[in-house]
Symmetry: C2
Subunit: 214 residues, 2 copies
Amino acid sequence: MRLYTYFRSSAAYRVRIALGLKGLAYDAVPVHLVRGGGEHRQPAYLQLNPAGLVPALEDGGEVLGQSLAIIEYLEEVHPRPPLLPQAPLDRARVRAIALTIACDIHPINNLRVLQYLGEVLGAADSQKTDWYRHWVLAGLGAVEALLAGDRRTGDFCHGDVPGLADCCLVPQVFNARRFGCDLSAMPNIVRIAANCETIEAFRLAAPGNQPDAE
Amino acid sequence: MRLYTYFRSSAAYRVRIALGLKGLAYDAVPVHLVRGGGEHRQPAYLQLNPAGLVPALEDGGEVLGQSLAIIEYLEEVHPRPPLLPQAPLDRARVRAIALTIACDIHPINNLRVLQYLGEVLGAADSQKTDWYRHWVLAGLGAVEALLAGDRRTGDFCHGDVPGLADCCLVPQVFNARRFGCDLSAMPNIVRIAANCETIEAFRLAAPGNQPDAE
């Protein structure tokens, strides 16, 4: 398997964690999202992944895009250890936590959106930081509410083994801290992120441990 | 089953289509996203769905959030007719198309984001419309590239029966037209959306056919 990745991409970080939790080896191919206007926008990369986004996973002769689609694929092809629980209602809960992060926080704060705010709307850096924090706190606030109000929350988002929701939570917490967001009102998130950080798959997937880290 | 829905919510529209394609009856409970500052932000709704977003599906004694998590749940509990193909690589493709819409277009153009642009950043209506069109065209451009470059594209996004990707595409095309986006460079999307519109499940799920339509 070959993973097209960028050390700082939160979506690539999710997939790196999932690959690590499943013990799957892969070749990392760095795609620089900033240099030269973004290698992901160059014809060579667009031929591989027409959507022009990172990450992408090459496997079985196909190139798969979208981090959550990639992780669901890994779950189907390499079911052990599972990243989703067995019961449909529980699977829906885990997916809903993952999607709250992947849909309702990350895309709004993505590099290209911040660039648009500055370049087209003339937002100042402080306004971009306020924007970033606003959506992180709204989205992680929703995640915290989902975690706090449910007896299925354990050492991790769902029970006592890490799974899909944790693969999404940890990169988002990493970014939240990078942008100076105050997470003190989110004790479940802080606790679960700390638990994840004790696990090698999460540590090895961190941006600072990637071959293309700057 | 009970669906908490808003006629104009693109995410609720996806779930309404999926329920229709599977032939599942449900009670629609309208949640008005604008009136009174938004019924989805009131304590009564937050008690049901702490994430405070529409849609939510009540089934099996639980309330499930996030449209794609809900549709995956329906697929697991009511597998016929399937909304995902069988092979893992094909399932990944369909999910990637769905997520390109659900992550990379819809959340950036959501009502609350447009409100922030106007109220906090002082964006004019014309700037909000430009913003909307920019992300629709970037995102649907990526979807068109995924459709055009793949022999698995058929009468619908994947083959000749409607599925998860079509459940996401049609509401996004509806919104794109509402905001006057020019889709003429996207022949696959236009063709597939037209095919979907011949199917009753898609028609019955449309915003104008909801009990809370204005």
